[in-house]
């Protein structure tokens, strides 16, 4: 019996129908994932092959990086300040206010900076990429590029993905810096924690690999959000509504993937950090 007739038979069975639906969802999800990986691989391969599109790359670096400076500085400063405010309350119960800097900075460098930066950039950049490429797709501009013997993946997707891979970690480091400033202002002048203790505890307990942990994650998250944004836009169909759907999907999928991938990357990176080898997770 052919597999399609088996499926039809299963679909007629009310008990089996939900399982068939779940199976179909899993298959379409995995197919989509495969297509995204294929799209990413071809964008990376084409980025390494001439013609090298340096001007386009610099333009995208400006768009992703310089264009996001303000929102990252704003988010970072307030994240550092509010994280300090909340943490001090908890630590005060154990007379441990002086370690607030350490707690906040480990949280920021390892988790909040890469994740919040990726989410902010997703909202600003991945959506713009999906909209721009989606509009180009539905107005045949991408077809026009192909007809003119220009590879649209190399021209449109590769510079955007490479620019994100470079600029998102830089933005994440900027986030760390301004979050540090926000945390310091909240802890020392506002809450009156001793400056010497505050700084010396940070120097003592925040190591370079905490910063690198966040940095490595930012590279991967930057690649992820740009790939999803470009892929969704590149494959948009169905006019204005299609572009809208592509943008929404790009933001939703990127945001969820940021959290999932953040967990996977954290678990993987901690394997290589001696301090955390004793922790089970």
């Amino acid at each position: 019996m052919s597999s399609s007739s088996t499926l039809e038979r299963l679909n007629e069975n009310p008990v089996a129908r939900p399982f068939v639906a779940i199976g179909n969802m899993a298959i379409s999800g995995l197919t989509e994932l495969g297509l995204v990986v294929q799209f990413f691989a071809s964008a990376v391969a084409l980025a390494c092959r001439p013609p090298f599109r340096v001007t386009l790359l610099l333009n995208q670096m400006e768009f992703v990086g310089v264009g996001s400076l303000f929102i990252i500085m704003l988010t970072g400063t307030f994240t550092g300040a509010v994280f300090t405010l909340q943490t001090v309350n908890g630590l005060a119960q154990f007379n441990l206010e002086s370690v607030v800097g350490t707690t906040v900075m480990i949280g920021v460098t390892r988790e909040l900076a890469p994740v919040l930066t990726a989410l902010m950039v997703t909202g600003r950049v991945a959506s713009a990429m999906a909209t721009e490429l989606g509009t180009m797709r539905v107005t045949e501009q991408i077809d026009a590029m192909e007809v003119m013997a220009v590879n649209p993946v190399q021209y449109l997707a590769s510079p955007r993905i490479v620019a994100s891979a470079i600029m998102v970690p830089c933005l994440s480091m900027l986030f760390v810096a301004v979050a540090y400033a926000g945390a310091y202002i909240m802890a020392v002048p506002v809450l009156g924690i001793d400056e010497g203790a505050y700084i010396s505890r940070i120097q003592e307990y925040v190591a370079s690999y905490d910063v690198m942990h966040g940095f490595y994650k930012s590279i991967i998250l930057g690649v992820l959000l740009a790939t999803v944004g470009c892929y969704k836009g590149y494959n948009a169909a169905g006019g204005a509504r299609g572009v809208g759907n592509a943008t929404t999907q790009a933001v939703v999928i990127s945001s969820i993937s940021v959290f999932v991938l953040d967990y996977v990357l954290s678990a993987l990176l901690m394997k290589f950090e001696p301090t955390y080898n004793a922790v089970s997770y």
Binding site: T139, E140, Q141, D143, A144, M148, A149, N151
Partner: protein, 258 residues
């Protein structure tokens, strides 16, 4: 000088040959054993109603779609079996004018027209600017290099689209519904543009359209497609004598409206 490493031109009298091409999208057959030849240096119009498969044939000719079965020969070379990089070389023989012009809206007119030159030639900036001026002159447009596509009318956009299509001096120009949605005067100017381009540049042209008037004006040969099947394929002057019932109805409806 343009850096176009294209495959050699054979002796075939046909620029494009579509042989026994079938194409389906999902369960829907769109092209059913289509055979079509485009004579070198002539204008071939493919006439048919919306949804008959005209655009799908054109996308096959330039390798944007691959047939389920059958072959597409461009200058005698089967493009259905070519690897992607060789297909890109074959595409340099083509220029294409899209239905909505498909100009890059983030670029000015000058940047749009110069795009193929910047990608595929080693010309200096001055030479490129000169070439852009020349090609915009061919389509009767002057001093609009700095404008953006959004600032142009539909007819002007089409003409800029043609200037971009011919800037690499291709041997074949494809027109996708060039007169759809245009007023009669602009339609007339687009028809003249196609005739002028054919005459001045001696290119092979393929026009897909459902505009009988334009087809009769610009075509050397006309094929009529209906539900994925070529139902008529004759020299333009013989199309009025067609005995095929669909073609007669199609033409009759148009003439009645006139």
């Amino acid at each position: 000088m343009t850096d176009t490493t294209v495959v050699s031109v054979p002796d075939s009298p046909y620029a494009i040959e579509v042989k026994n091409v079938c194409k389906s999208f999902g369960p829907n057959p769109v092209l059913k054993n289509v055979n079509l030849k485009v004579r070198r240096g002539k204008t071939r119009v493919i006439l048919g109603p919306s949804g008959s498969g005209k655009t799908v044939i054109m996308k096959h000719m330039i390798g944007l779609l691959k047939p389920d079965s059958g072959n597409i020969l461009v200058d005698g070379v089967d493009i259905t079996t070519l690897p992607h990089n060789e297909l890109l070389n074959v595409r340099r023989k083509f220029g294409m004018v899209f239905q909505q012009a498909a100009l890059f809206d983030s670029m000015t007119v000058g940047e749009n027209v110069s795009f193929p030159l910047r990608e595929h030639s080693v010309l200096s900036k001055e030479a490129i600017a000169e070439k852009v001026r020349e090609k915009l002159g061919v389509v009767d447009l002057k001093n609009i290099e700095h404008k953006y596509p959004a600032e142009l009318s539909g007819g002007m956009r089409k003409r800029v689209g043609l200037a971009r299509a011919i800037v690499l001096e291709p041997s074949i120009v494809l027109y996708d519904e060039p007169t759809t949605g245009l007023d009669p005067l602009t339609t007339d100017s687009v028809d003249k543009m196609i005739l002028d381009a054919s005459k001045r540049l001696n290119v092979t042209s393929v026009v897909i359209s459902h505009d009988v008037g334009s087809a009769l004006l610009v075509a050397d040969d006309i094929a009529v497609i209906h539900e994925g099947v070529i139902v008529e394929d004759v020299p333009a002057k013989e199309i009025r004598d067609s005995t095929h019932p669909f073609v007669r109805e199609f033409l009759h409806t148009w003439f009645r409206k006139q």
